[in-house]
């Protein structure tokens, strides 16, 4: 769970930085997208980096989901008789309670996101348009519900990472001393917040017309 999650977080950081190139204009953004396809060429065939990334991501997502399902099944087996009284959470961690349904929302989002931005199936411009045009078309005000779905999904990812990052540090045994623990808690909050802000910046700016 922790290791696959960490790989996915590293990908998200790279993905967010790439997205922010939308603010540098169409050329910069399209050029970056093109570079991702041709990096290492001609020594390496086109799409080498992308193919490797895709394989690693698919493996990590599958293993991450498998770990989550095994934990949930173990939990169900460990408490066959439920409590009659509603269990009141005593820990003040709202994010921890969103992990399972939040994870499902994130998976559904990723499916939509791939159909929208990668394959262009549900994108108004279709798969043949430049990445910049696809992104701009995707978040136009008449498609406000798409932007809204993105925002909700980003908040879910933020909550998922808030607990997930801290939980990964804990599972890897890094939070043994109070000082390091406090520092890593803050790191989890900061990384989650930066990722959410970085990811919502583009859809929001396109929605309100700052980026055209």
């Amino acid at each position: 769970m922790a290791v696959t999650g960490a790989v996915l977080v590293l990908f998200l950081i790279g993905h967010m930085l790439g997205n922010l190139k939308i603010f540098l204009g169409a050329d910069s953004f399209n050029h970056y997208a093109d570079w991702l396809r041709t990096v290492g060429s001609p020594a390496l065939p086109n799409r080498t980096l992308l193919t490797i990334t895709e394989i690693v991501l698919v493996v990590c997502v599958v293993l991450h989901m498998w770990a989550a399902v095994s934990l949930a099944r173990r939990a169900a087996k460990a408490r066959p008789v439920k409590y009659a009284a509603k269990r009141k959470s005593q820990a003040n961690g709202y994010a921890a309670q969103t992990m399972r349904y939040g994870g499902v929302i994130i998976v559904l989002f990723v499916v939509w996101h791939l159909l929208d931005m990668t394959f262009g199936t549900v994108n108004p411009k279709g798969g043949d348009a430049t990445p910049y045009d696809r992104m701009i078309a995707g978040f136009q005000p008449d498609r406000w519900w798409v932007a809204l779905f993105y925002l909700v999904a980003m908040v879910m990812i933020g909550l998922h990472l808030r607990h997930g990052l801290w939980s990964a540090f804990q599972s890897l045994g890094l939070t043994r001393r109070p000082r390091v623990r406090g520092l890593l808690q803050k790191t989890a909050v900061a990384v989650s917040a930066v990722l959410v802000l970085g990811f919502v910046a583009a859809p929001v700016c396109i929605l309100i017309g700052v980026v055209k």
Binding site: S70, L71, R74, A75, K77, A78, R79, P80, V81, K82, Y83, A84, A85, K86, R87, K88, S89, Q90, A91, G93, A96, Q97, M99, H163, W166, S167, F169, Q170, S171, L172, G173, L174, T175, R176, R177, P178, R181
Partner: protein, 246 residues
């Protein structure tokens, strides 16, 4: 004050069990929760009924015998207290109080609110011995222990093994208990020779008992009457990973 109690009644492990409602009248706010149950039980005995079975021993919060889930919270909502140290002044007249046993496959119900916590004993047993001569007490200063390590080890060692962590965990995990026991030795010089093999054996026994996996929700430490910190779980994971990587 007068209370309505909804208590889990189960006559032995093969009985299906059910919630039964009782009225308790003239409860003094100075009573402990267990004394309030004693009042109910005295009445049930006089009426020829079967008294409600619950575990208890010292009634001063140090033995780890008592424990029940009160209104959905292990040991009740008062922080850092066992059920015996929970007083009725935290309740008010007319309250409906739901009382259930710890719920875990690894803690089968013996009767009513009494569960069998032998799984904890087997985890301790799996930890084995530490390599120190067990003769006369050694000179106290012969093994230096840093103050920070002594404090953290002692914090972990205050675990009374009541099982509230398992009861509160949404996954039914025994990680906080096992981690407390592992940490209290792994931070001290005396615990070093068997540190990794002990962590590995205890974690494997914990899993074999049918407890759930830890997802670091922190529900355990929030209800722990001794406030065992989550740091102990990180210590357990670190020791286990080190042992498993060899």
């Amino acid at each position: 004050m007068n209370l309505t109690l909804k208590i889990w009644r189960q006559n032995g492990s093969s009985d299906k069990g059910r919630m039964v409602t009782y009225r308790v009248e003239d409860v003094s706010p100075d009573m402990s929760f267990l004394e309030m149950l004693d009042v109910l039980n005295e009445r049930l005995i006089l009426e020829g009924d079967d008294p409600v079975a619950f575990d208890h021993d010292c009634r001063e919060g140090i033995c780890g015998m008592c424990g029940m889930v009160i209104n959905g919270v292990a040991h009740g909502e008062q922080k850092l207290t066992t059920t015996c140290q929970l007083h009725m002044r935290h309740f008010k007249d007319g309250d409906v109080v739901t009382i259930e046993p710890w719920r875990a496959a690894a803690f089968p119900v013996v009767k009513d609110l009494v569960v069998d916590r032998s799984a904890f004993d087997r985890i301790i047993q799996a930890g084995g011995f530490i390599s120190v001569p067990a003769g006369s007490a050694p000179e106290a200063h012969s093994v230096p222990v840093p103050k920070a390590a002594a404090d953290a080890a002692f914090d972990a060692a205050t675990c009374i093994g009541c099982g509230a962590c398992v009861a509160a965990c949404p996954n039914g995990s025994a990680s906080l208990f096992t981690a407390a026991k592992i940490t209290h030795l792994s931070l001290l010089p005396q615990g070093q020779p068997e540190r990794e093999s002990r962590a590995r054996a205890m974690v494997e026994q914990m899993d074999a008992e049918g407890f759930g996996g830890c997802t670091n929700t922190g529900e355990c430490t929030a209800v722990c009457p001794k406030g065992i910190p989550l740091d102990t779980i990180a210590q357990m994971n670190a020791d286990y990973l080190k042992a498993a990587s060899k």
